[in-house]
């Protein structure tokens, strides 16, 4: 059955995020696992943000893709462990940058909640995806989608999205 599992991974590999069509579901860490079952495969996906409207589309895309390839599959949504931007590969981050979205920095909300909400500038500056300057300011903590913040580069003056650490 391992060949069917391998075939499933290969079949799903071109599927991308509906909102960010340059990174694949696997690179984003949404596609978690594929296992063999008695009558096909089980595919595990995990949601990014709880309210992300792309999740329904992603599940439909996975099912349609496997149906077209003739692979009998069950798609399971699993919440734990919670999705994190740490699962994003370096290659995926580079694709985001090339697409004009600053990738998540290494800084994640600190363990201590109280510390995190103190209003301090983030320790890791966000680099402009266009000119790489770190001379940037946040315009809004929620951008075009919940997972992004809106920034502005003070050097090249371009606005850009920042994929927030989650």
């Amino acid at each position: 059955m391992s060949t069917l599992v391998e075939r499933t991974w290969a079949t799903l590999s071109p599927l991308t995020d509906p909102e960010i069509p340059v990174v694949s579901l696997r690179e984003l860490g949404i596609l978690r696992d594929v296992t063999a079952t008695a009558d096909g495969v089980e595919v595990v996906i995990t949601p990014t943000y709880t309210g992300c409207p792309a999740m329904g589309q992603i599940e439909d895309d996975v099912k349609a893709c496997l149906a077209q390839a003739g692979i009998p599959a069950r798609v399971v949504t699993r919440l734990a462990p919670a999705w994190t931007t740490d699962w994003m590969s370096d290659a995926a981050k580079e694709k985001l940058r090339a697409y004009g979205i600053a990738p998540p920095s290494g800084t994640r909300p600190a363990e201590s909640v109280v510390k995190f909400v103190r209003r301090r500038p983030p320790p890791d500056p966000v680099a402009c995806p266009h000119c790489c300057s770190t001379h940037t300011v946040v315009s809004s903590q929620f951008g075009s989608t919940a997972c992004k913040a809106l920034y502005k580069c003070l050097d090249c003056q371009e606005p850009f999205d920042y994929f927030k650490p989650y």
């Binding site: 919670a82 909640v113 909400v117 903590q141 929620f142 919940a146």
Partner: protein
């Protein structure tokens, strides 16, 4: 170990009612960036509510679904904090019209956000594994909600004379409603005893520290409140919830099972 259904509904109703209330700003935000930000925060809240309703419905059985819980319960069935159903303006009778005041929106989001980072953090250690999984996700989102609200509390409070006065009026109006956070409901008491819930009273010192720090930076003062404790989480609501639910539930009740 499963959390009591009423406890899940309390958490879900909080999220759905604030999500619905804040969505009123969609297309009417004071500036474009805030219009988008509030809509995204609402999306997170409705997403959290959906996960909690799905969990509650699965455990209730008997044909319950996320839709039946959101759209087909009446206001006395809702277990949300009264704070979250209040309109975006100062005290008025329920049917009076008033312009929305963004200071009320922000201060409410701040008080609730400061509570929920602590609640979700505690619930990541819940003995109810399904609830803990929802909490782990919700905590990440609540941190951004609180950060957003706290930023704006400071910008409004330490802004112009007009924005300061409106932010202070919002704090004075809403603070009394936070008293409801600290008096445990029977569902909360049961959840704590079973090791699946968070003891709200234990969060009070941290909440005070968060709130006091931001209010001080915002040059806002904290009012003294005593006496009145709202009982929204016991199903006894202000007159405002019925209007909110009327709008939220109207379509689903007029066209049961409608899809598009």
């Amino acid at each position: 170990m499963n959390a009591p259904v009423d406890y899940l509904l309390h958490l879900a109703d909080n999220a759905v009612v604030l999500g619905q209330r804040n969505a009123e700003w969609c297309g009417h935000g004071p500036i474009l960036e805030e219009d988008i930000a509030l809509a995204n925060v609402s999306l997170d809240h409705i997403g959290q509510a959906r996960l909690l309703y799905q969990l509650a419905a699965a455990r209730m059985g008997g044909g319950a679904s996320e839709d039946s819980l959101a759209y087909f319960r009446d206001e006395t069935g809702f277990r949300n904090y009264t704070l979250l159903e209040l309109p975006h303006h100062g005290p008025l009778v329920g049917y009076a019209a008033s312009d929305r005041d963004y200071a009320v929106t922000i201060v409410r989001n701040f008080f609730y956000g400061a509570l929920m980072v602590l609640v979700w953090d505690g619930l990541t250690r819940s003995a109810d594994a399904d609830l803990a999984a929802i909490a782990a996700k919700s905590l990440k989102e609540a941190r951004y909600h609180l950060h957003h609200a706290a930023d704006w509390v400071v910008r409004l409070g330490d802004g112009t004379d007009e924005s300061h006065a409106r932010a202070q009026a919002a704090v004075d109006h809403l603070f009394r409603y936070t008293e409801e956070f600290w008096l445990p409901s029977p569902a909360e008491t049961e959840a704590v005893a079973a090791g699946v819930g968070v003891d709200v009273a234990s969060l009070r010192a941290d909440w005070n520290a968060l709130v006091d720090e931001t209010l001080a930076e915002a040059t806002l003062s904290r009012p003294t409140v005593r006496g009145y404790v709202p009982e929204g989480k016991l199903g006894r609501h202000s007159e405002h919830l019925g209007y909110l639910l009327g709008e939220m539930q109207g379509l689903a009740r007029a066209h049961p099972g409608a899809t598009w």
